[in-house]
C-alpha cells in the first residue's frame, strides 16, 4: 500500500514542517553587543590556519589577531616598537640580535623562549615546511639561540626592510607544541601568543576565538576589548549583506560601492570607505612575447595608452571612497615609494592619438587585455582605449590562470593589482614585478640594478635615491601604468567602534562596543 504509507508520511512531515516554521519565528541572535561576540564574515577560507601556510587575506587577519610578532609597527606613526622582542641591534648589515620579552606565554601555557623564535624561522626556511609565503622569509639565512632570552638572525644579504617584515608576516609559533602535533594538528588547533585564542575550527564554516585573558601586559596592541570573536565564511556577497542587516554578523568588508551607498541609509549600520595599500596597474608586454610585432614594444604606444585613460574619473566614479591616483608603481606611503620627479601622464586623448600616429598606428590596433578582478575597472579601461582607436579584447581569468599567462608571456596587457602583503616598504611591491623575476615583463637592466641596490642597501638615503631612479625609469618608459589605490568599503554594526587601516588588516582586538 505505497500510497497510504506515502500519504501518512506526507501528513506527518507536513505537520512537522508547519511546526518548525512557527517555532522559527523567535530565534536568538548569536552575534552582537549583547553576547559580547563580534562576528565578522568574508567570502573565502584560508586553506590552512597556520599563518605561514596560506596566502589569503582572511589568513592574515587571523594571524594578526591570534599571533604576535617580534616587533610591532604602529599603524598611525609607522614606527617600529617592541613586541615579543624588547630590543634589537644590528651587529652588522647581515646580523640582527634581538632580546626577547620575559613572561609571555602561548595559549597552551608554554612560555615563549628563544627556541620558539629560532624554530619558527628555521622551520619555515626548510623546503619541507612548504610554506606559501616564501618571499616574506627568504631574506633570512638562519636563526640561532644566543642566550636565555636572546636570538640572532643571520641574513642572506643586507635587507633594510627586515624590521618591517619582522613586524608583520612573521608570527612566532610554539616550537614544542608544533613539533608534537605537526602541521596538520597545528592547523586544526592553532596556538599563538596573541590577543585572541582560537577555540574551534570548523572547516568551511567558522573559526571561533575568545579573548586571551592571560595576554601579556604592556603589549602595544593591548588586551582585546571584545570577549568573543568569530569568523564566518559566507561566499555570497548578497547573503553577507543580508546577514549584516539582520544582525547575524556584525562586520563585513569589500562591499561594492553601490551596495555601500544602500547600507549607509540603514541607521543601525556604519559604513566606512578607506584607502588600502592595494594598487591597480596595467602591466605591458614590453618585450612583445604575446604577439608578433606587438605595438607595445614601442614606448610611444605605451605612453599613448597612459594618456588615453582618465584615471581621475575612474577614481571619482568607480573606485571612490578614499582612492587616489598613483603615478609611481608602488603605494605612495610605502618607504621608498615616491612620485616626486616621476613622469606623469595626464588624461589627454588627443595626445594619445598623436602618439599612436607617430608610432605608425593612425588607425589603432587590436590587442588583448587580461584581468582577474574588478571587471568593471578593466571594462572602463577598454572603453578609454577604444576612444583612441585601440580595440582591446578582455580575457577575464581566475588569478592562477592570469598569473600563469602573465609569467608565460601570453598576455599583452595585464590588469594587475598588488597589496604588498601589507608591508610598508617599496621592496614588497616594485621589486616583485621589475627586478628580473618571472613576472617582470620589461627585464630592463637599469631598473633591475637600481631595485637591487635599493633592496639591499642599509642606508635609507641611498635606498630612496635608488628606488626613485627605478620608479622614474619605469614611468618614463611606461613599462607599467599605475592606476590608483583601491578603497575598501567596510560595513558594520553601529554598536561597534572600528578603525580601518590602509594595510587592509582589520584589527579586531582594538575594536570595542559603544557604551
Amino acid at each position: 500500500m505505497p500510497t497510504r504509507i506515502e500519504a501518512g508520511r506526507i501528513c506527518k512531515a507536513g505537520a512537522l514542517l508547519a511546526g518548525l516554521l512557527l517555532a522559527g519565528v523567535a530565534g536568538p541572535a548569536l552575534a552582537g553587543k549583547a553576547n559580547d561576540t563580534l562576528v565578522y564574515a568574508s567570502d573565502s577560507e584560508p586553506e590552512n590556519l597556520s599563518p605561514y601556510h596560506n596566502n589569503l587575506r582572511e589568513g592574515v587577519i587571523l594571524a594578526r589577531n591570534v599571533w604576535d610578532t617580534l616587533l610591532y609597527r604602529d599603524p598611525a606613526t609607522g614606527q617600529h616598537q617592541p613586541m615579543l622582542a624588547t630590543a634589537w641591534t644590528w651587529v652588522d648589515p647581515v646580523t640582527l640580535d634581538l632580546t626577547l620579552r620575559d613572561g609571555v606565554t602561548f595559549h597552551n601555557g608554554d612560555p615563549l623562549t628563544p627556541e620558539d623564535v629560532a624554530f619558527t624561522f628555521n622551520y619555515v626556511l626548510t623546503p619541507e615546511a612548504k610554506i606559501v609565503t616564501k618571499g616574506n622569509v627568504d631574506w633570512m639565512k638562519s636563526t640561532e639561540v644566543t642566550g636565555p632570552n636572546t636570538v640572532r638572525i643571520h641574513l642572506k644579504a643586507p635587507f633594510p626592510a627586515a624590521l618591517e617584515y619582522l613586524s608583520g608576516p612573521t608570527p612566532i609559533l610554539p616550537a614544542a607544541y608544533f613539533k608534537k602535533v605537526g602541521l596538520d594538528g597545528f592547523s586544526k588547533a592553532p596556538v599563538g601568543t596573541g590577543p585572541y585564542r582560537i577555540v574551534s575550527v570548523e572547516s568551511g564554516r567558522s573559526v571561533k576565538m575568545v579573548r586571551n585573558e592571560k595576554y601579556w601586559p604592556g603589549s602595544p596592541v593591548g588586551k582585546a576589548r571584545i570577549g568573543k570573536l568569530e569568523f564566518r565564511i559566507i561566499p555570497d556577497a548578497d547573503s553577507r549583506m543580508a546577514e549584516l542587516m539582520t544582525g547575524g554578523v556584525d562586520w563585513i568588508w569589500r562591499v561594492p560601492t553601490d551596495q555601500a551607498d544602500q547600507l549607509k541609509r540603514d541607521p543601525t549600520l556604519t559604513v566606512v570607505s578607506a584607502e588600502t595599500m592595494r594598487v591597480g596597474y596595467l602591466q605591458f608586454d614590453v618585450q612583445g612575447r604575446a604577439q608578433d610585432n606587438s605595438p607595445l614594444k614601442d614606448v610611444r604606444v605605451r605612453q599613448a595608452i597612459a594618456h588615453a585613460i582618465d584615471r581621475k574619473a575612474m577614481v571619482d566614479n568607480l573606485a571612490r571612497g578614499g582612492a587616489r591616483v598613483m603615478n609611481a608603481l608602488c603605494f605612495v606611503e610605502q618607504f621608498g615609494c615616491t612620485d616626486e620627479g616621476v613622469p606623469t601622464y595626464a588624461y589627454d586623448p588627443a595626445k594619445a592619438r598623436a602618439l599612436l600616429k607617430e608610432a605608425g598606428y593612425p588607425n589603432g590596433f587590436e590587442i588583448d587585455l587580461s584581468a582577474y578582478r574588478e571587471r568593471d575597472y578593466a571594462e572602463a579601461v577598454i572603453g578609454y582605449l577604444r576612444a583612441v582607436g585601440i580595440r582591446a579584447k578582455l580575457n577575464y581569468l581566475r588569478y592562477a590562470a592570469f598569473r600563469d599567462a602573465l609569467r608565460a608571456g601570453k598576455t599583452s596587457i595585464g590588469y594587475q593589482t598588488w597589496g604588498s602583503f601589507s608591508i610598508n616598504d617599496v621592496s614588497a611591491f616594485t621589486g616583485i614585478y621589475f627586478r628580473g623575476g618571472e613576472e617582470d615583463l620589461a627585464r630592463d637592466p637599469t631598473v633591475i640594478a637600481a631595485l637591487q641596490a635599493g633592496d639591499t642597501s642599509t642606508d635609507p638615503a641611498t635606498r630612496k635615491a635608488k628606488y626613485k631612479e627605478a620608479l622614474t625609469r619605469i614611468a618614463a618608459q611606461a613599462y607599467a601604468l599605475p592606476m590608483f589605490s583601491y578603497p575598501s568599503n567596510y560595513a558594520f554594526s553601529a554598536d561597534l567602534t572600528f578603525t580601518a587601516q590602509t594595510d587592509e588588516v582589520p584589527r579586531f582586538y582594538a575594536a570595542s562596543w559603544k557604551k
Binding site: G14, L20, G27, G204, A242, T246, G248
Partner: protein, 304 residues
C-alpha cells in the same frame, strides 16, 4: 523479477565503473599533477619528489588500479588545498547536503502531489491554471534569485528566519524551499497527468457510479495508481537536487558538498572534485536502481 533485478544491477555497476574511470581521468586532463600539488614556487626537485611520493611516475593503468582499490575502501587521498583527507572532508559536508536534499524533496512532494491531484480534479478551472502558473514560474525562475528573494522577505523584512549557515534546523527552511521549488513543477505535472489518466479510466467511472465520495475516489483509487511514476521521478529529482544544490548552498552559505565541489573546482583541488563526482554519481545510480526495482515490483508490466 530476479532476472530483471540482476540485469538492472549489472547495468548500474557498469555505469559506476564508467563514472569512476571518467572521474579518475579528470585528474589527468588538467596538466601535470605533480606541478599542481607542489605549488607555483616549487623547484624541479620538489616536483620530482611529489611525483614519486604520490606514485605519479607509474603508468596510468597502475595508478588507476591503485586509486580504484583505495576508492573502494573510501580512501580518496589527500586534498591538495586543505591539510585533510578527502574522505574526511566529504564525510563532514555530506550530512548538510543530504539533509537539504531530503527536506527539499519533502517540500516538493508535499506541495506538488496535492497540487497535481487538485489540478487534475478541477481540470480547466482557475485552480488548474494557477497550479500550472506556479509550476511554470518554478521552472523559469533562477534558483539563486528565488533564494535571495526568500532571504529578502523572510529574513531581512520579516526577520523570521536566519539568512545563512547551517547551525540549526531553522537554517534549512529557506534553502529547502528554494531547492524544493526547483523540483516541484515536474512532480506536479506528472501527478496531474497521471491523475487525469486514472480519472478517465473505467474503474474510476465504476467507483463514481457506485456513489463513492470524491475524496475517496481521488485518494484510494486515483493517487494510488498515479503515484507510481512519481516515485521514479522523485528519486531522479533527489539525485539532481544533490548535484544542483551548488547555487543554493552558495546563496545560503551552507557548507555542503555542492559548495565544496564548486570551491574545489576553483582551487584545482582535483582529489576532492573526483571524490564528490564519484559519490554523487553512486548515490544517483543507487537511487535510480532503487526506483526501477520498486516500480517493477509495483507494476509487473515494467519487468519485461
Amino acid at each position: 523479477m530476479l532476472g530483471f533485478a540482476l540485469r538492472r544491477i549489472l547495468v548500474a555497476v557498469g555505469v559506476a565503473l564508467t563514472v569512476s574511470v571518467a572521474s579518475f581521468m579528470l585528474l589527468h586532463l588538467s596538466g601535470d599533477l605533480a606541478t599542481a600539488i607542489a605549488g607555483p614556487e616549487a623547484t624541479g626537485e620538489q616536483i620530482a619528489a611529489v611525483r614519486a611520493q604520490h606514485g605519479l611516475d607509474q603508468p596510468l593503468v597502475v595508478q588507476f588500479a591503485a586509486w580504484a582499490w583505495r576508492a573502494l575502501h573510501f580512501d580518496f587521498g589527500r586534498s591538495f588545498y586543505f591539510p585533510e583527507q578527502v574522505t574526511d572532508l566529504v564525510a563532514a559536508r555530506m550530512p548538510v547536503t543530504l539533509t537539504l536534499g531530503v527536506i527539499a524533496l519533502a517540500v516538493a512532494l508535499l506541495v506538488a502531489i496535492p497540487l497535481g491531484v487538485l489540478a487534475a480534479f478541477y481540470r480547466d478551472t482557475w485552480l488548474d491554471r494557477a497550479a500550472l502558473a506556479i509550476s511554470v514560474l518554478g521552472q523559469a525562475m533562477p534558483s539563486f534569485w528565488f533564494g535571495l528573494t526568500l532571504i529578502l522577505i523572510f529574513s531581512v523584512n520579516l526577520r523570521w528566519l536566519p539568512v545563512s549557515g547551517n547551525a540549526t534546523w531553522k537554517h534549512f527552511i529557506l534553502p529547502a524551499v528554494a531547492l524544493g521549488y526547483y523540483a516541484m513543477p515536474a512532480v506536479m505535472r506528472l501527478t496531474r497527468n497521471g491523475m487525469l489518466e486514472v480519472l478517465s479510466s473505467d474503474y474510476v467511472r465504476t467507483a463514481r457510479a457506485k456513489g463513492l465520495p470524491p475524496r475517496k475516489i481521488l485518494i484510494r483509487h486515483g493517487l494510488r495508481n498515479a503515484v507510481i511514476p512519481v516515485i521514479a521521478l522523485a528519486a531522479v529529482q533527489f539525485g539532481f537536487m544533490l548535484g544542483g544544490s551548488i547555487v543554493i548552498e552558495a546563496v545560503f552559505s551552507l557548507q555542503g558538498l555542492g559548495q565544496l565541489a564548486w570551491e574545489s573546482i576553483a582551487r584545482n583541488d582535483f582529489p576532492v572534485v573526483q571524490a564528490i563526482v564519484l559519490v554523487l554519481a553512486m548515490i544517483y545510480i543507487g537511487l535510480t536502481l532503487a526506483a526501477d526495482l520498486l516500480n517493477a515490483l509495483l507494476d509487473p508490466r515494467l519487468r519485461s
